[in-house]
Amino acid sequence: MSKFRSVKDIPDDEYVAPGSSLCAGCGSEIIARHMLKVLGKDTIFVNVPGCYAISTLFPFTAVKVPFVFAVFGSGAAVAQGIKDGLDILKEKRGINNERVNYKVVVYVGDGAAYDIGFQSTSAAIHRNLDFYFVCYDNEAYGNTGFQLSGATPYASRTSTSEPLGGSVGNVYRKKDIFEIWRAHRAPYIATISVSHITDMLNKFEKAKQFKGPKLFVALSICPTGWGASEEETVRIARLAVETGMWPLKEAVYGEVKHTFIPRRLKPVEEYLKTQRRFRHLFHPVRREEDIKKIQEEVESYWKRVWETELSK
């Protein structure tokens, strides 16, 4: 049924080259690589300031498809202009080379998806733009030194939410971008994780059948900002899924379905303990209340999912 049943089915073609200056073990590279494997060479890659901009520093680029760099808040608006421009060349001027049929993907970090670029993204979804929007979510402004963003989870240390003087770190809740997008009734929305490659590949593949906005938010481990060793990237991402903190799901025209439903959740602290950004929850004293708060929120989420989806 699914096109990709195991990693054996991963397409061989690579549209990302090695040799970029991105940090060793960066999650955004894994996502970009597999995304382009499924979308293919006929893709225009729109990027904005953020970690992945490091892929393309003159005179080098790691991206092997046409690449357009936009200002921080304009990723989706630029996708709209490119797509419309190519469409009108086809429709009005009768130009029909292969490039006018290229897909457009906007690949941005959480700052651009949740915060500064949210307005333009919302508007592009509203206009039903036929494009892919993929957020590599490392839960902070990683490229500028890991400051708080709308995607930063409760209690995370960032360089603008230091756990000093008894503070818990970030006091705000992470925005639920999946639900915000879903309220737009986009044809296809999915969460993905660097740990679940075939799930990711199948979701990109499935998205192809829909005309209109296809939106992805990917948990993208940031060893540098999160304070974790590089080799842990995949293990941490898997723990995020298995503790229930990062649900894998999709929504087709608003109808939600989880693509992985854990029967039993691992305790969230197994995930939190892997990263220095949560270290103050455990050292020098254990902040029981805050850990409990995170655990309870995850449990109440899954209780609803178990009730609705498992009973079907």
């Binding site: 040799g19 590089e230 293990r235």
Partner: protein, 296 residues
């Protein structure tokens, strides 16, 4: 004026080393200026930091292209074309952090010490060399041990290190300080040379069409960059254990694993940055990590 340039890899604390030296110079009564290379610094990628020290007020700014003293925190950088730590170095003092005794053909003085080894011994981490390299710079400049230790303490306190960790770093600094010589910097030929670099200005003309438009026409050309030199640890595939399951291939962020004709995993050491995700995901424990043997 003495011009010091520090080279290292992102995450090694080279910037902190330069700040230790800058603060020590200030404490010694010098005019001082310290600053890091500005750019997207990435863990493992070559970075640099700069310090100017002078008895007179400093009326210069920006990168130091002609250093009197170069400190290299990672010896693999010595011949890295991007880092190019010997650029503009013409007869001063070169310090290299190394466990071997490298033969480097330079005019000037060569000082070496295995700071990485000392860091492992005193702190338990190979990458925490900032206090050591900072103290070595101080010793080379002939600063007193007292100011050196105070500078180390001040800078590490500012970073928010625990008292215990600062103590360990002080021991590393002391040991490093003890094991290198001092120099009379005023006697170095480069110091007596002018700080002014002679260049010729050319006439820039319009390049019509899209030559002058900022684009890249060779997509994927990062492949010519050898990010393999970033590695501190190196993944090694045991081909007897490898089943060709492709899991390591799937998770490699840097497209640096490929399957050979025998369907086994091979690592592209020219590009592998040494993140070791492959080793951690291998279900058959076929990929082990070994310390990168750094030879010159």
């Amino acid at each position: 004026m003495y011009r010091f340039r520090f080279h290292g890899r992102g995450g090694q604390g080279i910037k902190t080393a330069s700040r230790i030296f800058g603060t020590a110079a200030f404490l010694e009564g010098f005019y001082a200026q310290d600053f890091p290379m500005y750019g997207p610094e990435r863990r493992g990628a070559p970075v640099a930091a700069y310090v100017r020290v002078s008895r007179e007020p400093i009326v210069n700014r920006g990168y130091i292209t002609h250093p009197d003293v170069v400190l290299v925190g990672d010896e693999t950088l010595l011949f890295d074309p991007v880092a190019d730590p010997l650029r503009g170095f013409s007869g001063g003092v070169l310090f290299v952090n190394t466990m071997t005794s490298p033969q480097i053909d330079i005019s000037g003085e060569l000082v070496t010490l295995d700071v990485t080894g000392l860091a492992l011994e005193y702190i338990g981490r190979t990458s925490a060399i900032s206090a050591g390299v900072g103290a070595i710079a101080c010793k080379i400049a002939g600063f007193s041990k007292g100011t050196t230790m105070e500078a180390v303490e001040r800078e590490l306190e500012e970073l928010g290190l625990s008292e215990e960790l600062i103590d360990k770093n002080l021991r590393l600094a002391e040991e490093s300080y003890r094991n290198v010589p001092s120099f009379d910097l005023d006697s170095l030929p480069s110091v007596r040379e002018s700080d002014y670099i002679d260049t010729n200005v050319v006439h820039v003309k319009l390049d019509e069409g899209y030559v002058g438009v900022a684009t890249i026409a060779k997509l994927g050309n990062t492949a010519v960059r050898r990010t393999g030199s970033w590695r501190i640890l190196k993944p090694v595939v045991d081909l007897n254990k490898c089943t060709g399951c492709k899991i390591c291939f799937a998770y490699c962020p840097d497209v640096s694993i490929y399957l050979g004709e025998d369907d086994k995993a091979y690592i592209d050491y020219d590009h592998c940055k040494g993140c070791l995700i492959c080793s951690s995901v291998c279900p058959f424990k076929a990929i082990t990590m070994v310390r990168e043997v750094k030879t010159l």
